[in-house]
Symmetry: D2
Amino acid sequence: MLKPITTQTEREAYYSRISKKHMAPLWESLHSLVPQYPSTRCIPAIWRYEDVRDAIMESGDLITSEEAVRRVLILENPGMTGEASITQTLYAGLQLILPGEVAPSHRHVQSALRFIIEGSGAYTSVDGERTTMRPGDFIITPSWTWHDHGNISEADGGEPVVWLDGLDIPLISVLDTGFAENYPEPEQPIIRSDGDSYARYGHNMVPVRHVSKSRTSPIFNYPYDRSREALARLATHSPVDEWDGVKLRYVDPSTGGYAMPTIATFMQLLPANFRGKSYRSTDATVFCVVEGTGVVNIGQEVFEFGPRDVFVMPSWASISLSAGQRDVVLFSYSDRPVQDALGLLREERVP
Amino acid sequence: MLKPITTQTEREAYYSRISKKHMAPLWESLHSLVPQYPSTRCIPAIWRYEDVRDAIMESGDLITSEEAVRRVLILENPGMTGEASITQTLYAGLQLILPGEVAPSHRHVQSALRFIIEGSGAYTSVDGERTTMRPGDFIITPSWTWHDHGNISEADGGEPVVWLDGLDIPLISVLDTGFAENYPEPEQPIIRSDGDSYARYGHNMVPVRHVSKSRTSPIFNYPYDRSREALARLATHSPVDEWDGVKLRYVDPSTGGYAMPTIATFMQLLPANFRGKSYRSTDATVFCVVEGTGVVNIGQEVFEFGPRDVFVMPSWASISLSAGQRDVVLFSYSDRPVQDALGLLREERVP
Amino acid sequence: MLKPITTQTEREAYYSRISKKHMAPLWESLHSLVPQYPSTRCIPAIWRYEDVRDAIMESGDLITSEEAVRRVLILENPGMTGEASITQTLYAGLQLILPGEVAPSHRHVQSALRFIIEGSGAYTSVDGERTTMRPGDFIITPSWTWHDHGNISEADGGEPVVWLDGLDIPLISVLDTGFAENYPEPEQPIIRSDGDSYARYGHNMVPVRHVSKSRTSPIFNYPYDRSREALARLATHSPVDEWDGVKLRYVDPSTGGYAMPTIATFMQLLPANFRGKSYRSTDATVFCVVEGTGVVNIGQEVFEFGPRDVFVMPSWASISLSAGQRDVVLFSYSDRPVQDALGLLREERVP
Amino acid sequence: MLKPITTQTEREAYYSRISKKHMAPLWESLHSLVPQYPSTRCIPAIWRYEDVRDAIMESGDLITSEEAVRRVLILENPGMTGEASITQTLYAGLQLILPGEVAPSHRHVQSALRFIIEGSGAYTSVDGERTTMRPGDFIITPSWTWHDHGNISEADGGEPVVWLDGLDIPLISVLDTGFAENYPEPEQPIIRSDGDSYARYGHNMVPVRHVSKSRTSPIFNYPYDRSREALARLATHSPVDEWDGVKLRYVDPSTGGYAMPTIATFMQLLPANFRGKSYRSTDATVFCVVEGTGVVNIGQEVFEFGPRDVFVMPSWASISLSAGQRDVVLFSYSDRPVQDALGLLREERVP
């Protein structure tokens, strides 16, 4: 270190003077601005479904779906209280819709995913097509598409339905690109039948004159039975990865890319008694347990998990996943498409 | 609005209870989280070179380049004091290097641009190739490449050299993907001659066996004389856009895309007495004046500008540009490649 | 027309002189070299399965699969006799494999498709994975992959199996890029179980670490039941195109592009009593009837067709398709990916 | 080899019978249809400019440019006499335009390149912009763009001008995608000034609102002085490739891809006394000598070459290039973009 050519006092006086011109010395903050490793406020956390289910159900007594617009409990990362974020770029929430209710139609630049957790009878409509929501289904609301949710009446068999909402709200906020609009009616008109998009795009074929207008997959409901079948088949007949078990990425069949432009989604199976090796990655990831019980180590934390629990892994924190005595199925999402598109993703597997 | 089914007091009690489980009601913050229009903390601002030049030169007495590592005054957006940001995703600073100095070699995930403002004698080395810095040149330090800066001695004609640094520091911070490393020596070894990259990639030809390993342009110095010549030719012989004058985007000649993966760069000419129409865009933009004087309206603000001034336009703020009695040349940069890659860019031109 | 400055005799003498230097006058052939419209030697033709089935079965007595290597009857376009081409760029043939036979393993640059026409018991192995061939399945042999075919024994239920082979042989020949190689054994070793590729790539998900090494779809058997289900669903619930009926393109789910780099493949349904409008296109197309009877007009020709017939439409010939009293299902293939990649495709629909 | 189960006579009878149904046995032609190595009719050949120049000039007395439409002597590969092809997919010709002449305006799907060989005064107009033709310039006529050529009067300094035409005529013919049209006037109207496209796209910048509508480079004249400068700089300061010398590919600066969708173009420098190593490639290539003398070995042939000579290398023929006592500059073109787009290119360098 060279001898400073000025005293710290002189420097502070200078800093104070230039601050009036909206300037600041880089050299005082260089190491925190350009860190050696990712240093995030996001911390590992878990929301056990048994701990939060009562609060979710209670929200149904507290406010109507119409008044709330969306009756959702935000899962806030304990390291970023008050910021409505589960990671620095992503949002997570648990949404409840009761029999007979409607969550009114609107659209926004933020992309949303719905991962169905429990209950039967709910449906969602996106851009003129309605789809039924079943546990384990991964459903997309693409950016700037009209969408509303509903539930059939109790008489018709409707149950309280809960799903995990995943959105890119914090990212859109930092990029300053958010717009939103309400639809004039509670529900948009339906112009295509349930299953239409899946028939068009879900069978490894596309309509001959299809031209992508969107960066989001034209399939908007990836049903659980199809995903589960693929996992089961590969777990039985193919080698299992020592870090991931069997892990599949949902794809946009019209591009082969991620199903959503800002959010990657995955489903993986850890065979019974699987003991996963440790890895880390720069894409902080939210997991939702579909089946089975197990243990996850994230950084210094150890969490036991069971069905319907949600947990979060921060950027560059080591993670390892283990399964109990039956197979574990995990859904997960992260901002990997953003990091991929910008050439920023870094991963490391501990051998 | 439906009648609330609970009192506000009951709700507050509920919010307090669920906050212990790191949950919060979406319905209380929906409108601010999902705004109707971009609502940013970034505000319009200008740094006039005549107001800041003394402070820059004074920094040369305050600290050595070696001690500072980078002797830079950060231009902080007045709406985000203390955050080292000029927009929500971008950083700007004015860097000074004195004759005989070296700014030591390091590398980081953050991408950097250098737009040369004044002085002669400085050079920068990137990944084994050195280039001379001349006013108006646009120079790139790609993500994760070793780089150091230097200046020849006063005896050899070195002058204090100032340039504008543009980096994606706030974006990388939000994405939690930052890594950095110091080179063991102050300066890295030079393995290719000055001008080598330009000869390979700058003439609308590329080496026959070139394979892109990077998302950044292989040209790392776009010299001002070439850019200026193109602008002059088009301003004379081609129609001038009513909003932009003549505006060119720097390209990566190996892809046709942006020269940098996270930062778009432009140079534009406003003919003498040009009165630009108003437009707005979601990519908040930093401008640096190269030649001429003029006036810019940004939102409710009106700024007169002259050579070497820097000003910033927030997302979705209306902007219009006017030239004085001689041609104006402006360099500018924004996070447009990010918004483009994610399908988020929105623009509007007032007719 | 200007008066010729020389007589035709003088010109002929000149042409004769320059021909010794391997030169020729463009002006004598300009109009045929650069035609106003595509002028092809390919003509419309149909091979009715009832007319050719006996000959196919007879080939089983004529030569063994081992001796023939591939026991195939080439369908030669009547306008290009002796050229082993059904269009100027594509080849078609009908291949027979008898119970207990093996068609020995080899590989070649030419890409191949197999569209199964009749029989049960046959299988094909590609790059270490075997798949069962069932009527209506579309199966791919990617460029330069080891492949062999076989059939189970009669005792195990094997029947004579016939499929349509589609290859890009004439195209590869013109491009001079053909290579081929025999495998040292009749059959290659099997290293993945039947259905493995489909489980990995067929469910709108891909393995998280998948990196495309090939330009061909990783799904190599698109089963008929899936394709048929999609067509049925869309024919019932969605608008039917007035030219195509319901027409789907097979996709590579890892790119969204064509399933093969040089050959496009389609399956379409014409509802009972459909009367298709006329269109033309520059990609000469081979059709194979899967179900139903109907009529096709191609240029000046009218062909009645039934199940298992093959017919061909030349470039820029008008075509219209009609269905009889039950639904028609057609498989088809063309060199559209080549024309698309090079920006050469032209289409025209008669309203 | 198994014992044939039928006699050859029986087989011939069978072949004769099925030929009436437009069918043929694959097994009799499998090896020629699916060859072990590319087996082309294209053979190595050279056209020495001193041998052909008189004939070119004589064509000026034989026919006017107006009558000929294009006064061109086709260079026909001696292995494919009468086919107007220099390789199986490409055409080459030498075009002459005399002072005061016009070659009338038309357009066609075939893409064309012009590589200027000798003379001064000629110009070409493409899509409303005229450019002057100078020896060594590489000029493009994109697919389906209006184009006409002209030459200033002798009084104004016009000289007979000769250039090499390179087109994809045989490829378009095989693909059956050719269309052509004459412009109603001999010359199209000029709507942009000479140099406009180069100013827009030639300086590693593009207009900010540019959207590619074409698969061809928006630069249509790549001037020789720029290409030559790049080669000279790299030959002096950078390592020289042992096979290619210094070899650059012309790029479309708006994509980084080939300048033309079906034809790759290159310029390379062999330093004085360079002795190139041998390589082979599946893209048959046409070379035109710009400067210097040397020797080329192609397959079993050895050709001495000098300025303005044209020679052709067939697919998969070994080639090695040597320079005489001064630097050699070679322009070349091939169908590499086609082979690249379809995944068919194969290359081999002998160490």
